[in-house]
C-alpha cells in the first residue's frame, strides 16, 4: 500500500503515455455512446419533487376543474380592435388554432368560443356563444365589446375596457408542447393578420421556449468559451501542441459527465444543461497550472520527463486540494431539496473529479508524446521581463509600500458589501429569463398592460360539504375576497362563482341593475345556477369555477406580473384577508397554478442554497486547516473566497438584480473557484520559504512563477466567458458575468491581500529558519509522501461522500383524461392494495398437451399507485431454478431495472431490460404481462360497451405510441364494475389475435376483486399457459428493504417458507 499515487502516475503517464491515452479514449467512447440516449426536460415544475404537496395539489385542482395551462394570444390596435374586419381575422384564427394538435379546442377562451348569458328580445334567458359568426358591421362589433364589459366573467379577460386589445386563451394538453404550439399559432396569425400587432405570451410558452433556446445557447456558448480559452492559452504559451491538451481534458470530462448523466437515467434539465459551461473553465484550471509550470521550467531542465516529474511533484498537493474544494462546493448542492439542482451539483462534482484525474494523468502523458523538437523554443521567451511580469512587479512594489492601504481597503469593501448583502431581494420570473427586447418579453408587457393578465393562478376554497357554495353568505364572503384581491396592483381580475351567480340573476330580472347581486336565499342561488346549467351553455365552463357537487369554488386570479415577489404578495394578501375577516362557514383555501408553483420551489431553493453554501464553507475550512496544518493559515486561505462572495453578492444587492435561480446556484461555484488561488498561493509561498528561509525572497518570488500562473488563469477564464455576455438569455449573461467577476475579484484579492497579510504576520507565518539549498529535496520528499497518505484518506472520504448521495430520478406523472379507463384497469390489475404476496403455480401446456410447471412466490410493493413498483419473485420449481430469485424495479416510462440471483454460484446479475415483450420464464406471458404495461405507453380509443362472460364491460383499443415488438394493436375488455381486465387480445398482423388473455376466475380477497386464475392462449403457437394464484394476502406491510440486493440473496423467511 505504500506505493504512492505520485509514483503510480509517473509510471503510468510518463513511462506508458500510450496506455493512458488508450484508456482515456476507451472510457470516453464508452460514455460517448450513451449520449444519443439524452432526454430533455424543460418543465420548471420538476424543480419540485414529483410527490411535493404543492405540486400534487396543483394537479388535483387541474384535474377536478378540468383546467389546462394557457397560452395567451393578444392583438392590440390603437384605433380600437372591435371592428368587423379585425374580429373576422380573430374568428378565422381561432378556428384554425382549434385544429392544432395538443390544443384543448373545447376550452379555448375567445370571443368566438365563450358563452355569454343574456335575456333575448323575447325575455328568454339564453346562454349562447358570444360571437358565433364574425360581425357583419362595426356596430355589431361594438356590441360584442359592450357584452364583454357587462359580463364580469369575461371583462378584462377577453378585451380591454377601451376596446384596444383582444385576448385569446389557448389551453394546451401538455405544457411541454407550448413552444411548438406557439410556433404554429404564429404561422396561423401570419396568414390571417391584416397588419395589427399580435402577441403570444404566458408562462408555459416562456418556460418551454426557454428550454428550446437554452439548448441553442448551450451549443453556441460552450464551444465559444472553449475557443477563446484556447486562443488565450496559445497567446500565453505559443505552442499549440502543448495547449491542445487542456482543451482535450475539458471536452473529455464533459463527455464523461454527460454520458454518466444520461446513463443513470437522469434528464437534462435547465440546470444540467449548464454543466458543460461550468465544467470547461474548471477543467482547464488545473491544466493551466501544469502548463504554466512546465512552460517556466522547461528551459531549465531541457528534458521533458524531468520537467514533467518536477511539475507534478510541485503541483500535486495544491491541485488535489483545489479540486477537492470545488468538488465539495458542488457536492454540497446535493443538500438542496430540489432534484435538478442536486443532479447538477453531483454531476459537476463528478466532472471536476474526472478533470483532476485527467489533468494529472492525461496532461503528463500527452506532454511526453510531444516531440522534443517542437519544444525547442517552448518557454524561451524571457518571462521575467514580459509584460505580465512587469505588471506583477509593479503590483509587488505597490503592495510592499502600501500594504496598510490594501488591508484598510479590503475592510472597507467588506463593510460596503455587507450593506449590499442586506439589500438583496429574492425574486424570480421565468419570463424575465429573456432579455427585455425578446419578443416574449414584449408580448408579455403589451398584453399585461391592456388586459387583466396572462399569469393564471387558482385559489381553491373548500366548504367541506356538498352544496356549501350555494350559501349566499359564503358567496358574498368570497366576492369580498375577490374584490380585496383585485386591489393589489398585480391582480388584473379575480373571477369566480359569485360573478356568474350575479350575472344570471341580473339577466333573469331583465337587466335590473339592482339585481346585479347575490340573491338572498339559498334556493334562489340554486335556481340561478340550475338555470345557467340548463340554458344551453356548456356546463363544463361552469365547472371550471365550482366543483360538480358545489363543495368547492375555484377563483381564477389573473396576475399581470409573473414575478415571484408579486405572486407572494397576492398570496399573503389573501391569507391576511381571511385571517382578519373570519368566513361565515369554515372554509379551507389553497393555491394552485404555475406562478404559485414557482414561488414554492424558489423558497425551497433559497433555503437549500444557503444550507449548501454554509456547509461547504465549513467543509472547505476544515480541509484548509488540514492542508496547512495550521488554523491561522486555514483562516487566511478562506479570506479571498469570503471577500469574493461578499463583494459579488453585495454588488448584486446594490445593482438591484434579484437573487434568482442562476444566482443561487452560482454561490457554490464562487466558493469552489475562489479558494483555488489562495491554495496555490499559500502552498507555494510555504514551499519557497522552506527552500530559501528568507521572507523577502519568498515575497518577491511569489510575484514571479506563482503570480504568473494565477494571473494567466484569471485572464483565461475571465475573458473566456465574455461571449456569454451577448447571450439572449439572462441566466447565461448572469453566469458569464459571475465567472468574470469571481475570477477578477478572487485573483485580485489573492495577489493583493494575501501578500499584505504576509507582511503583517511575517513572524508568525514565516518563522525564520535555515534555508535549504534548492535541489536538496529529501524533506519535501518525505513530507509529500506523508501528505499523499493523508490525502488518500481524504480522497476516499470525498469519493464515498459523493457516492453515497443518491442521484434522484424523477417520477413523471401525466394522466390525460382519455386514458382514464385504461388507467383504472391498470391500477385494478397491477396495483391492488399497497402491496401483496401470492403463491403462483404456472402451467405451460404445449400443442401436444405436454405440461410443464413452474412454482414461485411473488411479492409486490407499490411505491406510488400507477408509478414506481417493485416485484420480488422466488422460484421453487423446476429443480434447476429452485431458490433462484428475481427482482424488478419498475419505473413507468423508463426501462425496468432487473436483477437475477443465481444461487448455484451465489451471484447477482443485472440483466438487460429493453425487451419487455420477451417470454417470462418460457411461458406465454411476457415480462410485461406479469407486471403490466403502463397505460401512457399506448394511445387508447374507446370502442364500445359490451357484455363479456355475463359481465358488463367497456371495450378499449390501444396502439403503442412507439414501435413495439409485443403487439401493434390490443383490445381490452374492462369490467365496468371493478375495472378488472377480463379479456385482452393482442394483434400483430391481420384480424386474428396472436395471443389472448383471459381472467377465468375472479375472487374477492381482503375486499379486493382479484383474478386468481388467468390464462394466456398463444393462438399462433397453439399452446397456452395458465397461472393460478393462491394464498393471496394484501396490505401485509412489506418493507421496501425486501426489494434490495440483500434479500435477493436471503429470501425474507417470514414470507417465504
Amino acid at each position: 500500500m505504500r506505493r504512492s499515487i505520485r509514483r503510480f502516475i509517473e509510471e503510468f503517464s510518463i513511462e506508458h503515455p500510450w496506455l493512458i491515452i488508450a484508456m482515456v479514449t476507451a472510457i470516453t467512447v464508452f460514455f460517448a455512446v450513451q449520449l444519443p440516449g439524452i432526454k430533455i426536460d424543460t418543465d420548471p415544475e420538476n424543480m419540485l419533487r414529483a410527490d411535493e404537496a404543492a405540486r400534487l395539489f396543483d394537479h388535483e385542482v387541474k384535474d377536478e376543474f378540468a383546467i389546462s395551462d394557457f397560452i395567451a394570444v393578444g392583438v392590440v390596435s390603437e384605433d380600437g380592435a372591435f371592428n368587423s374586419r379585425l374580429l373576422g381575422d380573430v374568428h378565422a384564427i381561432v378556428e384554425e388554432i382549434s385544429e392544432i394538435e395538443g390544443v384543448v379546442a373545447d376550452d379555448i377562451l375567445s370571443p368566438s368560443t365563450v358563452d355569454d348569458i343574456r335575456q333575448d328580445s323575447e325575455g328568454v334567458l339564453t346562454v349562447s356563444t358570444l360571437m358565433e359568426d364574425p360581425p357583419e358591421n362595426d356596430a355589431e362589433a361594438e356590441f360584442i365589446l359592450e357584452r364583454i364589459k357587462s359580463n364580469p366573467v369575461l371583462r378584462g379577460k377577453l378585451a380591454s375596457d377601451d376596446g384596444k386589445a383582444i385576448a385569446l386563451f389557448i389551453p394546451i394538453e401538455s405544457k411541454n408542447e407550448s413552444h411548438r404550439i406557439a410556433g404554429e399559432i404564429r404561422e396561423i396569425i401570419a396568414r390571417h393578420s391584416s397588419g395589427e400587432d399580435y402577441f403570444i405570451a404566458g408562462l408555459p410558452v416562456a418556460e418551454d421556449s426557454f428550454g428550446a433556446e437554452m439548448f441553442r445557447q448551450m451549443a453556441l456558448s460552450a464551444p465559444m468559451a472553449g475557443l477563446i480559452i484556447f486562443l488565450l492559452l496559445l497567446l500565453f504559451f505559443r505552442n499549440w501542441k502543448v495547449v491542445i491538451s487542456p482543451m482535450i481534458v475539458a471536452v473529455v470530462s464533459v463527455i464523461w459527465t454527460i454520458g454518466l448523466l444520461v446513463m443513470t437515467g437522469n434528464t437534462v434539465h435547465i440546470m444540467s444543461s449548464m454543466i458543460p459551461i461550468f465544467l470547461i473553465p474548471i477543467a482547464v484550471l488545473n491544466s493551466i497550472h501544469i502548463i504554466s509550470e512546465f512552460h517556466d521550467e522547461f528551459q531549465r531542465y531541457k528534458h521533458k520527463k524531468t520537467t514533467i516529474r518536477n511539475t507534478i511533484l510541485k503541483l500535486f498537493t495544491p491541485m488535489l486540494f483545489t479540486s477537492l474544494t470545488t468538488v465539495v462546493g458542488f457536492a454540497s448542492l446535493a443538500l438542496t431539496p430540489i432534484p435538478p439542482v442536486r443532479v447538477f451539483g453531483i454531476f459537476v462534482a463528478f466532472g471536476i473529479a474526472v478533470a483532476w484525474l485527467l489533468s494529472i494523468t492525461f496532461n503528463p502523458a500527452f506532454a511526453v508524446l510531444i516531440p522534443t523538437r517542437s519544444l525547442r523554443n517552448f518557454g524561451k521567451t524571457d518571462e521575467a521581463h514580459g509584460p505580465l511580469s512587469r505588471a506583477l512587479h509593479v503590483l509587488r512594489d505597490f503592495n510592499r509600500k502600501h500594504y496598510r492601504a490594501v488591508l484598510a481597503g479590503s475592510a472597507v469593501i467588506v463593510v460596503i458589501s455587507a450593506i449590499g448583502l442586506s439589500r438583496i431581494i429574492v425574486n424570480d420570473n421565468p419570463v424575465k429569463w429573456f432579455k427585455s427586447n425578446h419578443p416574449l418579453r414584449v408580448a408579455d408587457a403589451a398584453l399585461n398592460e391592456h388586459l387583466a393578465g396572462t399569469y393564471m393562478n387558482y385559489f381553491v376554497i373548500d366548504g367541506g360539504e356538498e352544496d356549501a357554495m350555494k350559501d349566499p353568505e359564503t358567496l358574498r364572503y368570497i366576492e369580498r375576497l375577490q374584490r380585496h384581491l383585485e386591489k393589489s396592483p398585480f391582480v388584473g381580475a379575480a373571477t369566480g362563482l359569485p360573478d356568474i351567480v350575479k350575472k344570471v340573476s341580473f339577466e333573469l330580472f331583465g337587466g335590473d341593475p339592482g339585481k346585479f347581486a347575490i340573491p338572498d336565499s339559498r334556493r334562489e342561488v340554486a335556481q340561478d345556477l340550475f338555470l345557467f346549467e340548463i340554458s344551453g351553455g356548456d356546463p363544463g365552463d361552469l365547472f371550471k369555477f365550482v366543483s360538480e357537487d358545489y363543495s368547492k369554488v375555484n377563483l381564477w386570479v389573473q396576475l399581470n406580473q409573473g414575478d415571484n415577489s408579486s405572486v407572494r404578495s397576492v398570496v399573503e394578501s389573501a391569507k391576511d384577508f381571511m385571517e382578519k375577516n373570519p368566513p361565515p362557514a369554515s372554509l379551507d383555501a389553497a393555491w394552485a397554478g404555475m406562478p404559485y408553483i414557482n414561488i414554492i420551489w424558489q423558497e425551497k431553493m433559497v433555503k437549500g442554497m444557503l444550507a449548501a453554501l454554509l456547509s461547504s464553507f465549513a467543509a472547505v475550512f476544515v480541509m484548509m486547516v488540514f492542508l496547512f496544518r495550521s488554523p491561522l493559515l486555514g483562516l487566511i486561505s478562506m479570506l479571498p473566497l469570503s471577500i469574493t462572495i461578499m463583494a459579488v453578492y453585495g454588488a448584486i444587492g446594490f445593482v438591484g438584480k434579484p437573487y434568482d435561480m442562476p444566482i443561487a446556484v452560482l454561490s457554490s461555484l464562487t466558493l469552489g473557484l475562489s479558494i483555488d488561488f489562495a491554495i496555490h498561493f499559500l502552498k507555494r509561498a510555504k514551499n519557497i520559504h522552506n527552500e530559501t528561509g528568507d521572507f523577502e525572497k519568498t515575497y518577491s518570488e511569489m510575484f514571479e512563477g506563482p503570480g504568473r500562473a494565477i494571473s494567466r488563469n484569471v485572464l483565461v477564464i475571465a475573458i473566456g466567458f465574455v461571449p456569454m455576455f451577448f447571450s439572449t438569455l439572462v441566466p447565461y449573461i448572469t453566469v458569464g458575468s459571475f465567472f468574470f467577476a469571481i475570477m477578477m475579484i478572487s485573483g485580485a484579492v489573492t495577489m493583493l491581500l494575501l501578500p499584505s497579510i504576509f507582511i503583517v504576520l511575517r513572524k508568525k507565518m514565516f518563522p525564520r529558519g535555515p534555508g535549504r539549498p534548492a535541489g536538496e529535496d529529501i524533506r519535501t520528499e518525505v513530507e509529500s509522501q506523508l501528505k499523499e497518505e493523508v490525502m488518500k484518506v481524504g480522497m476516499i472520504v470525498a469519493a464515498a461522500a459523493v457516492m453515497l448521495v443518491s442521484l434522484p430520478g424523477f417520477a413523471r406523472s401525466a394522466t390525460p383524461d382519455a386514458e382514464a379507463l385504461m388507467k383504472e384497469a391498470h391500477l385494478a390489475m397491477f396495483y391492488a392494495g399497497d402491496d401483496g404476496i401470492s403463491e403462483v403455480e404456472m402451467k405451460i401446456v404445449n400443442s401436444k398437451g405436454k405440461e410443464r410447471v413452474r412454482e414461485f412466490t411473488m411479492m409486490r410493493l407499490d411505491i406510488e399507485d400507477g408509478g414506481r413498483q417493485m416485484y420480488y419473485t422466488y422460484f421453487r420449481k423446476p429443480h434447476d431454478v429452485s431458490r433462484l430469485t428475481f427482482l424488478v424495479h419498475k419505473l413507468p416510462e423508463e426501462n425496468d431495472s432487473r436483477w437475477l440471483y443465481i444461487p448455484s454460484v451465489d451471484l447477482i446479475k443485472r440483466i438487460s431490460s429493453d425487451d419487455k415483450s420477451s417470454s417470462f420464464v418460457g411461458s406465454d406471458f411476457t415480462y410485461e404481462d406479469v407486471s403490466g404495461r403502463h397505460w401512457t405507453e399506448d394511445t387508447h380509443t374507446f370502442l364500445r360497451e359490451d357484455e363479456y362472460d355475463g359481465r358488463a364491460v367497456y371495450v378499449v383499443e390501444s396502439k403503442p405510441k412507439k414501435k413495439y415488438k409485443g403487439f401493434t394493436r390490443k383490445v381490452t375488455f374492462i369490467d365496468k364494475e371493478n375495472h378488472l381486465v377480463l379479456r385482452e387480445e393482442y394483434f400483430k398482423k391481420g384480424d386474428t389475435p396472436e395471443r389472448v388473455f383471459t381472467a377465468e376466475t375472479v375472487e374477492v380477497i381482503d375486499g379486493i376483486p382479484t383474478p386468481t386464475f388467468r390464462k394466456m392462449e398463444n393462438i399462433k403457437k397453439n399452446q397456452y399457459t395458465t397461472v393460478e394464484f393462491s394464498g393471496i394476502r394484501y396490505n401485509v406491510g412489506l418493507d421496501e428493504s425486501i426489494f434490495t440486493e440483500r434479500y435477493l440473496k436471503n429470501p425474507p423467511r417470514e414470507y417465504i417458507r
Binding site: Q34, L260, I844, V853, V905, N1050
Partner: protein
C-alpha cells in the same frame, strides 16, 4: 480432482442436519451421468475417457428465522479413479444476519463476483478448469473454499469481505484426464510421470486470502471496486532451487461498471495485478505486474437468441526488464495479451432446447478454444446434453495451445428432483 472433507466442514454439515426442529427443511438434488471421450489419439494421457462418472448431488437447505443452513454433498462413482466412490462436500455453511445491515456466511462455500462471462479479473476465488473442460455443469467451474464472508448493506451500497484462511488454488489439468504443456519438458505431457502440482503456500496466518468488494448502483449503472490480497491462483512461479512450481504472492486493485446500453448490457472491468514477488519486472520466473482489462457487450438479438462479445487485454509492466532477464531462446510473453470471446445462446422449442456456443480467440497468442453444447429438457426433471470442447494453438506453450490434445465430446444425462 481434489477430494475434501475437513473437520470444519463436517461440523457444519452436522450443524445443518441438526438445525432447529422449528426450522423448515428442504432436501433436493439430482442424479447425473457424464461420459466424455477424447478425440485426439495423440493425447499423452492414460485414458481415452475425459469423463466417466455418475454423480448424485444431495442438497439440504434448512432455515430458521434468522439463520440458514445449507449443505450440498456430491457422491460420485468413477471406475477410472481410485477409490472408485468419492464424496465431496460442495457447500456447507451457516448464514446469519447480525443486525439489519450485516450478513455473515461461515463455512464451505462458492463465491464469485465481477462482470465478465467466463473471464475473471477481480474474481480470484478458486475455479475448477478440469470440471469445465470435461463438460460438467457451469456451477462446477466455481470451486468451493472454506471461508468467512461478511456482507454489509446500506441502501444500494454493499461491502463484502471474504477471508479464506487456507489458500485455495484453481484446479488445472494435471496430466491425468487432461494433458498440459510442461515448460521443463518443452512439450505437451500427461500421465503418471508428469502429474503436476504446484507447491501451495504454508498454512500460516499470513498466507490466507483476503478479498473485498464495494458495490453500488447508480441508477442503471452497477459500479464496484475490488481488492484482493493473496496469491496467483495457478502455479505461475518457478522455484529453480527446488525445481518446483509455486503460487507467487499477488495483490489486485480493480473496478468494474455494468450498465444497460444500446438495448443490451455493457460492462467494463479492470484490475491492476501487483505481483509482489517481482515489482521490478526483472525476474522471469515470477509474473510481472500487469493491468488486466476487459469490455463486453451482451444483447438479446431476438427473443430466442442472445449473443455477447468480450475483449480482454493484459498489459505487462516492465516488459523491457522481463525480456532482458529472460534466458536466451525461452519463449517470451508479449507486452500486450489480447483475447476475444463470444457466446451465442439460442433457445428453441419453448426454451426447452438450449444451444450454446462459446469461443475464445487470442490474436496475440494465436490460439482458440471453442465450447459448444446442446441441452434438451425432456421434462422439467429429465434433460440430456451433448457437447464438445475443442482447442487449437499455433504454439504449444500458449494458454489454449497447451491443451490442444484435449479435444473431447461428452454426453450428459440429468435427472433432477
Amino acid at each position: 480432482m481434489k477430494r475434501y472433507s475437513g473437520p470444519a466442514a463436517g461440523l457444519l454439515l452436522f450443524a445443518a442436519l441438526s438445525a432447529p426442529a422449528a426450522a423448515d427443511t428442504d432436501i433436493s438434488g439430482f442424479l447425473q451421468g457424464l461420459y466424455g471421450y477424447g478425440i485426439d489419439s495423440r493425447n499423452p494421457v492414460p485414458s481415452e475417457l475425459t469423463a466417466s462418472e455418475v454423480r448424485l448431488q444431495l442438497r439440504l437447505e434448512s432455515f430458521s428465522d434468522n439463520a440458514e443452513y445449507f449443505g450440498r454433498l456430491d457422491l460420485t462413482y468413477d471406475d477410472h479413479l481410485d477409490p472408485v466412490v468419492g464424496a465431496e462436500l460442495r457447500e456447507g455453511y451457516v448464514k446469519f444476519g447480525v443486525g439489519r445491515r450485516l450478513d455473515m456466511k461461515v463455512g464451505r462455500q462458492i463465491i464469485t463476483w465481477g462482470t465478465g462471462d467466463l473471464i475473471f479479473i477481480n474474481d480470484l476465488f478458486p475455479k475448477d478448469w478440469v470440471s469445465f473442460f470435461s463438460g460438467r455443469d457451469d456451477q462446477y467451474l466455481k470451486a468451493p473454499q472454506n471461508a468467512l464472508r461478511f456482507t454489509l448493506y446500506g441502501g444500494s451500497t454493499s461491502l463484502d469481505f471474504v477471508y479464506t484462511p487456507r489458500f485455495t488454488p484453481d484446479v488445472i489439468p494435471s496430466g491425468m484426464r487432461f494433458s498440459y504443456y510442461n515448460p521443463m519438458a518443452g512439450d505437451i505431457v500427461g500421465g503418471e510421470d508428469y502429474l503436476f502440482a504446484g507447491r501451495a503456500p504454508e498454512a500460516e496466518i499470513g498466507n490466507g486470502e483476503f478479498s473485498a468488494k464495494l458495490a453500488r448502483y447508480f441508477g442503471n449503472v452497477d459500479a464496484a471496486l475490488y481488492f484482493y490480497r493473496g496469491f496467483y491462483k495457478t502455479p505461475v512461479g518457478m522455484d529453480t532451487s527446488a525445481v518446483e512450481a509455486y503460487y507467487p504472492r499477488l495483490m489486485v486493485y480493480g473496478g468494474s461498471l455494468r450498465s444497460p446500453a444500446l438495448g443490451g448490457v455493457f460492462w467494463i472491468e479492470t484490475g491492476f495485478y501487483d505481483s509482489r514477488g517481482d515489482t521490478d519486472g526483472n525476474d522471469p520466473l515470477v509474473p510481472n505486474r500487469s493491468l488486466e482489462s476487459m469490455v463486453g457487450f451482451e444483447r438479446q438479438v431476438t427473443s430466442a437468441l442472445t449473443a455477447n462479445l468480450q475483449y480482454y487485454t493484459g498489459y505487462m509492466f516492465d516488459h523491457d526488464a522481463y525480456t532482458a532477464a529472460l534466458p536466451d531462446g525461452a519463449p517470451a510473453e508479449e507486452e500486450m495479451y489480447h483475447l476475444l470471446t463470444s457466446r451465442v445462446t439460442m433457445l428453441f422449442m419453448m426454451e426447452n432446447l438450449n444451444v450454446s456456443l462459446f469461443a475464445f480467440y487470442s490474436p496475440s497468442e494465436e490460439d482458440v478454444y471453442g465450447r459448444m453444447s446442446m441441452t434438451y429438457k425432456y421434462t422439467d426433471a429429465v434433460s440430456v446434453a451433448l457437447g464438445a470442447n475443442l482447442f487449437h494453438g499455433e504454439d504449444e506453450y500458449t494458454t489454449f495451445g497447451g491443451f490442444q490434445r484435449n479435444d473431447n465430446l461428452y454426453l450428459k444425462l440429468t435427472y433432477g428432483m
